[in-house]
Amino acid sequence: MNALKLIRLVVWASIAVLTAALGFLLLAPPKDTGTGVAAVGGPFRLAAADGSVVDSGMLMGKPFALFFGFTHCPDVCPTSMLEITNDLVALGDKARDFRVYFVTVDPARDDAKLLKDYTGSFDPRIIGLIPKDEAELAAIAKSYRAIYRKVETPSGYTMDHTASIYLMDAKGAFFGTLDSKETPAIRQSKLRRLIDKR
């Protein structure tokens, strides 16, 4: 092997290593927050169905729950909202200032009046949030790693969507999720720990 060939080989090998490293950096999942929990959630600023604006920056010190749904939902959304309503009622005074944000994945149909009627028929602590466009919806869904997809039906469309209830702590960090399959006792103990966490 002559010197030129050796140099060529070294250069190509370096390029391969660099390409692999770059690929890893680009494709690797987002870094952990240091608590061992992958980052879920992030800053948002969205119009609420009651006419106010909810800015996650203003929620520091206030743990909250967040759910993606839509009012044309068969039974997952009403069931989840009914369950968390029951949980909040069961927690009594402890949950007095707790908020549940219902982010509509169907802002085309869920206007402020409809969404306010809907969440209001469960509990006044459930607040509808309405992304003003596809970009706002995509951004908050991405930060919560939630999925939503419009699917055609014979008469119109429906929305596939992530149906977990996200729990966010007083520092705005992801705390866990609530699941319909869990017993009320388990969900309520999670909520109690979330509200007590400082």
Binding site: T71, H72, D75, V151, T162, P184
Partner: protein
Amino acid sequence: MTKTSLLRALAAASLLALAAPAAAHDFKVGDLKIDHPWARATPGGAKVGGGFMKITNTGTQPDRLIGGSAEISAIFEVHEMKMEGNVMKMRALEKGLEIKPGQIVELKPGGYHVMFIDLRNPLKEGDTVKGHLVFEKAGKVDVEYKIESRASTGGTGHDAHSGHGTKAP
């Protein structure tokens, strides 16, 4: 048997015949038995609702639920809902819902349902909603849906909600 007692017996029998279907809340068409159609009360503003029931095929031929209507909605579709991981997915069953011979197919929350789309009024607990179902072979049958609480899981017609400490306000 005297004439009077015969009349009395006939009257009693016809009363029973009238009372029985209402009490059991089931409906029949051909070889199909439709047990306890029901729906949940809808939240404020909701434009859709799901209808549930149990369908038993006592015959020897498969049949399909392919459509129907309900007096409270403009549109009626046969749907399937399922969870894939944490993602809720709902699809219209374009070929209808098959009920094989000897099979009992249950339409229930979280699974198969008929969907009332563009509700004219909210579904209110305690109400009864008239409608009909259309099967590919057995044809058309009138049914009535009992509207139960938002927490109901159906079953007996009673409010069978499980484990919820408190009702929604």
